[in-house]
C-alpha cells in the first residue's frame, strides 16, 4: 500500500503495517509518536539486542561508578505502543522492491513503511587477535557496560583508555573517581580536539591531569599484548614506550549499523543512511524513497543552518526529535509533513564538570570566550563560521545556552558585539584549533559529511604504527 493521496494516507494510518528496525531510543520514540498520532495499524519492532529499549548515557557514568546496575537503565515509556517485538534477532537484509526485511533467523517480514533506526556501534579495536584478549573492552551496550563495570570493580592495577573523545574522557573520569590508575592515549594534541577544538581541548587536558590521569597525547597504541592465557598485560605506544595494563577501553568512536543495507539500493555507509530533512531515505541515485524513513544516530540529514550539509549526529536529543518527526511524517502526507530542523545539542559530565554544547562546533573557523574564564574552566565560548554564530560550548554554565541557541537560529553575526555578564577582561576572536579535517579523528559527535547523499568525505583510518 502506498500512501500518496489523503485517502490512501488515511487508510494506511488505520490499517497499514510499519516495521521499525532498531529498538533503542529513536525506534521507541518513533513508535510512541505513531500511536500518539493515531496510527492503528500493525507495528513490528526489530532489535538485535535482547533487552527492551534502554538508555545509554548513564552507561559511561553512573553504571561504571556502580551507582546503577547496567540492566537498570530501561527507558521510561511515554505510552503503550502495542507492537510485535522481535528482539535479539538482527535484520540482515532489505528488499526495497518487495518491501521486505530479512532477519538473521531466516524470517522475512513485509512492511508498508519502514523506519531504519539501527544506530551505531562502538568501533572495535582494529586488530582482531588483540581485540579478543581478556581485558579489552568497548562501551556501547548495557552488556559492554556490565562487563567493564565488573572489571573496574575488581580493581585493575591500571586501565588504558584508547582515544580521548567524549567517551574516553568520561571513562577516564569514572576510573579516577573509583581511585583507579588510568592512562589515556590520544592521537591528537589534546582530548576532545575533534569535537571542540584545541583551545577547549587544552582545558580538558588540564582537567585530566589535575585529576591524576596519565594523559599521553600525540601517541597511538600500536599493539596490545596478552599473556599465554589470553589476558591483556601490556600496551605498546607509538612513542616506543610500553605500559603494563590489566584493562583497555577502546574509545575510537562509532560506525553506523548499515551493513544489513548493503546492496539494498539505499545511500548507506559507515557514516549512516542519508535522508532528507523529512527523514525519508535517499537511494544511491540521490532520489528520495517513498516508504523508507531514517531516524537517530544512523541518520545523516541535511541541515539548512549549516549550509545544507548532511550532519551525522550522535546526540540523545537529536534521536528523540528526529524520531518524532519521522513518526509524524510516516503517517502524514504533503504539507502536513514536517522537517527535522533541530539544532544539535550535546552534554557530557566528566571530572565534575558539566559540558554542554549547542550547534555544530566543528562548523567554525573562529571562536571567542564570551563569559567566564577558560582558566577557571567555567565559561561559555561561541563559535563562528564566516561571520555568523554556529555553535556555543559551556563548561558549568549551561543555563545560558538557550540564548546562544537563539543566536545560532538567527545566524547572528560573529564575533558577537554585545556585552554579557561575567565577560572576560579581554574578548578576542581566535582560531578554535580544529585539526585538519583530512586527518583521522574520532572525537566529534557531529560530523559534517558533505552535500551529496552518497558523499563519504570523512574516512576514519585506524591507528597503525
Amino acid at each position: 500500500m502506498s500512501a500518496d493521496g489523503p485517502e490512501r494516507a488515511h487508510a494506511f494510518k488505520k490499517g497499514g503495517h510499519i516495521v521499525i528496525v532498531g529498538a533503542s531510543l529513536a525506534g521507541l520514540r518513533a513508535a510512541e509518536t505513531l500511536r500518539e498520532e493515531g496510527f492503528t495499524g500493525s507495528l513490528t519492532m526489530i532489535g538485535d539486542e535482547p533487552d527492551q529499549p534502554y538508555d545509554r548515557p548513564p552507561l559511561s557514568k553512573q553504571v561504571l561508578l556502580g551507582m546503577v546496575p547496567a540492566e537498570h537503565t530501561a527507558l521510561p515509556r511515554r505510552r503503550e505502543i502495542d507492537a510485535d517485538w522481535r528482539l535479539g534477532v538482527p535484520a540482515i537484509g532489505l528488499d526495497l522492491d518487495a518491501h521486505r526485511v530479512r532477519l538473521a533467523d531466516g524470517q522475512e517480514i513485509g512492511f508498508d513503511r519502514l523506519l531504519i533506526a539501527t544506530g551505531v556501534r562502538a568501533r572495535p579495536w582494529p586488530n582482531e587477535n588483540e581485540r579478543d584478549l581478556d581485558g579489552v573492552f568497548v562501551l556501547r551496550t548495557n552488556g559492554d557496560a556490565a562487563r567493564l563495570r565488573r572489571r573496574l570493580a575488581a580493581r585493575p592495577r591500571r586501565v588504558l583508555v584508547i582515544g580521548a573523545g567524549f567517551m574516553g574522557s568520561e571513562v577516564a573520569s569514572a576510573c579516577r573517581e573509583l581511585g583507579l590508575e588510568v592512562t589515556v592515549a590520544e592521537r591528537g594534541p589534546v582530548p576532545l580536539v575533534g569535537a571542540l577544538g584545541g583551545v577547549i581541548g587544552s582545558v580538558v587536558a588540564r582537567m585530566h591531569r589535575e585529576h591524576g590521569v596519565d594523559l599521553r597525547c600525540r601517541v597511538t597504541v600500536t599493539a596490545l599484548e596478552g599473556d599465554p592465557s589470553g589476558r591483556l598485560r601490556r600496551a605498546h605506544l607509538s612513542d616506543g614506550t610500553a605500559i603494563d595494563v590489566d584493562a583497555a577501553v577502546v574509545c575510537l568512536g562509532s560506525i553506523g549499523n548499515t551493513e544489513w543495507l548493503a546492496g539494498s539500493g539505499l545511500a548507506a555507509g559507515p557514516r549512516g543512511v542519508a535522508c532528507d530533512a523529512g527523514c525519508r531515505a535517499f537511494d544511491v541515485n540521490g532520489i528520495v524513497t517513498d516508504d523508507v524513513f531514517v531516524a537517530g544516530d544512523v541518520a545523516r540529514a541535511p541541515n539548512p543552518l549549516y549550509e545544507y550539509n548532511f550532519l551525522f549526529l550522535e546526540h540523545w536529543g537529536n534521536a528523540v526529535a528526529q524520531a518524532e518527526v519521522a513518526g509524524h511524517n510516516m503517517i502524514s502526507c504533503g504539507s502536513a509533513r514536517r522537517p527535522h530542523l533541530a539544532i544539535p545539542a550535546f552534554w557530557s559530565t566528566q571530572f565534575g564538570v558539566s559540558i554542554r554544547s549547542v550547534g555544530v562546533p566543528t562548523f567554525a573557523d573562529e571562536m571567542m570566550v564570551m563569559q567566564g574564564s577558560l582558566e577557571e574552566r567555567r565559561f561559555v565560548a561561541a563559535y563562528g563560521h564566516r561571520g555568523r554564530v554556529t555553535a556555543a560550548v559551556a563548561f558549568d554554565q549551561a543555563k545560558w545556552l538557550d540564548f546562544y541557541r537563539e543566536l545560532i537560529m538567527a545566524a547572528a553575526p560573529f564575533p558577537p558585539s554585545f556585552v554579557p555578564v561575567d565577560r572576560p577582561p579581554v574578548m578576542r576572536s581566535m582560531s578554535p584549533e580544529f585539526p585538519d579535517p583530512a586527518l583521522p579523528s574520532h572525537g566529534a559527535t557531529v560530523t559534517i559529511t558533505g552535500h551529496l547523499p552518497n558523499d563519504q568525505r570523512v574516512v576514519f583510518t585506524p591507528a597503525r604504527a
Binding site: 565534575g352 563569559q371 561559555v380 545560558w400 538557550d402 537563539e406 554585545f418
Partner: protein, 410 residues
C-alpha cells in the same frame, strides 16, 4: 487603557484578587515601556528568553543613564547584596557555596531527608484545628509551617520568630514599589530592615562559628568546599535571603493552592483519594497561581531588541511571570487549572541561573501540605471568595483564607 500605565494598574491593590484579565490586556504589548521608563515584559517566550540572556543583569549597580542610582554603592557597603541581586561570577560562587549543604551535587538527598520532619510539623498544625469550626489557612497553617521549616534548616530558634517578623514584613513591603510615594524613603526602609535582620542573623552566625551545629548556617560557616567559606558579611546576606525567601513564597504556594482546590472541588476530592496527584497539582499551581508574580529590577547591559522593541542600555525591566504562565501562545487553554497538564514548563520558579534556589523544598512542602489538608479537613468550605489579599503585588497571595470545617480526620 494605555500600555504605559499597565504596571500601575497591576500593582494597584484593587487588581490583586484577579490580575489575569489585566495580564491578557498587557500581553497585547509584549514589551511595554511604562511612564517611569521601566520596561514590562509579559509574554512567555520573551520572558523565558530574557531569563537566559547574558545581556540582562540582576545587579542594580548596572542601572545607567536616567535610571542610575547613586546611593547603591553606599548601601552595599554596609551589607553586601545577596546572590539574587548579583551576576556571575560572584552569583555563581555564592550559589555553589550555599547549595553545598542543601542540594546536588554535594547533598542530593538533603531535601528528601526532611520529609518525615515536614510531615510531623504539618500533622501537628492540623491537629491544632481540633474542635474549631473555622480556621485561617494562612495564620493557622500556611505561615507557621514554612517558618518552622526554614528556622530548623538555618538553625534559627523558632521562638525568635517575633524578633524577625516585623523586619521581614517591612522588607517585603519594600518590594511593592507602588506602595511607596518616596523612592528614597522606600530604599532607606529596605536598607534599615535588612540591616536589622543582618544584625539578628549575625548573632546566629557568630554563635555557630564558635559552636557549629547540624544546621545550614553552621555548614556555611565551616564551608569545606573548593570555594572555601563565604565571608562573614556574605554569609549574613545569604542567611537573610534564605530566611525570607524560605517562607514568604511558600505561604502563598500553600494558600493559593488551597484556595484553588476549594474552587475546584472535584480536584480536591481526587487529591484525597490519589495523593500522587499532588506532584502534578503543585506544578500546575506554580503555573496557574504562582507565589511570585513579578520579577522587578532586571537591568539591560546593552541596547537590546526584543519583540520589536528596543530597550536601551541601563534600563530597569519587570518580568511578569504570572502573565507568562497564562500565555496562550505557550500553554493550551491557559486559564484552566489542570493538575494533569503535560508539557508544563512554567515560570513559577523563574528560569536561568537565578531559578529558585529552594524549589525542591518548596515543591515538597506544597505537596505534603496540600495532601494532608485535602485528606484531613472534613467538608471544608470557603468563607469568602475572593478572600482578602496581601498588599504585595510581587509576592501575591491571600492575607487570610478562612475555611469552615466540620472537623478533622485523624
Amino acid at each position: 487603557m494605555t500600555p504605559d500605565t499597565m504596571l500601575k494598574r497591576i500593582t494597584d491593590y484593587g487588581s490583586r484578587a484577579d490580575p489575569y484579565p489585566l495580564y491578557a490586556e498587557l500581553r497585547k504589548t509584549p514589551v511595554a515601556r511604562q511612564e517611569d521608563g521601566t520596561y514590562v515584559v509579559s509574554t512567555y517566550w520573551e520572558i523565558h528568553s530574557l531569563l537566559h540572556d547574558p545581556r540582562i543583569s540582576s545587579d542594580r549597580r548596572n542601572l545607567a543613564g536616567p535610571w542610575a542610582d547613586p546611593d547603591i554603592e553606599e548601601e552595599d557597603a554596609t551589607l553586601p547584596p545577596s546572590m539574587i541581586r548579583l551576576d556571575p561570577p560572584a552569583h555563581d560562587r555564592l550559589r555553589r557555596q550555599a547549595m553545598r549543604p542543601f542540594g546536588p551535587p554535594h547533598s542530593p538527598e538533603y531535601v528528601d531527608s526532611l520529609r518525615p520532619e515536614l510531615a510531623g510539623i504539618v500533622g501537628g498544625l492540623i491537629d491544632g484545628f481540633e474542635g474549631k469550626g473555622q480556621v485561617d489557612i494562612v495564620d493557622d497553617f500556611a505561615y507557621p509551617f514554612p517558618v518552622t521549616v526554614i528556622c530548623r534548616i538555618l538553625g534559627v530558634p523558632r521562638e525568635d520568630e517575633p524578633r524577625f517578623r516585623d523586619w521581614v514584613d517591612l522588607l517585603v513591603s519594600t518590594l511593592d514599589l507602588a506602595a511607596w510615594d518616596d523612592p528614597a524613603e522606600r530604599q532607606r526602609t529596605a536598607q534599615r530592615a535588612r540591616l536589622e535582620l543582618g544584625r539578628f542573623l549575625g548573632e546566629l552566625v557568630a554563635a555557630r562559628s564558635r559552636k557549629p551545629g547540624d544546621d545550614m548556617v553552621s555548614a556555611l560557616v565551616t564551608g569545606h568546599g573548593p570555594d572555601g567559606p563565604m565571608s562573614q558579611l556574605e554569609l549574613i546576606s545569604t542567611a537573610v535571603l534564605l530566611l525570607i525567601a524560605g517562607h514568604e513564597t511558600t505561604v502563598n504556594l500553600i494558600t493559593n493552592g488551597m484556595l484553588t482546590l476549594l474552587r475546584h472541588p472535584h480536584v480536591l476530592e481526587r487529591l484525597r483519594r490519589e495523593p500522587e496527584l499532588a506532584v502534578g497539582a503543585v506544578e500546575e499551581l506554580l503555573r496557574f497561581e504562582p507565589p511570585v508574580h513579578l520579577l522587578p529590577q532586571r537591568v539591560t547591559l546593552a541596547d537590546i531588541e526584543i519583540a520589536g522593541v528596543l530597550i536601551p542600555k541601563g534600563a530597569p525591566m519587570t518580568l511578569v511571570l504570572g502573565s507568562g504562565n497564562r500565555d496562550p501562545l505557550r500553554f493550551d487553554d491557559p486559564d484552566r487549572f489542570d493538575p494533569e497538564r503535560r508539557d508544563n514548563q512554567h515560570l513559577g520558579f523563574g528560569s536561568g541561573i537565578h531559578t529558585c534556589f529552594g524549589a525542591p523544598l518548596a515543591r515538597l512542602e506544597g505537596q505534603i501540605a496540600l495532601v494532608e489538608l485535602a485528606r484531613r479537613l472534613q467538608n471544608p468550605r470557603l468563607v469568602a471568595d475572593p478572600p482578602p489579599y496581601r498588599q504585595n503585588p510581587v509576592l501575591r497571595g491571600p492575607r487570610h483564607l478562612l475555611v469552615e470545617i466540620d472537623g478533622i480526620a485523624p
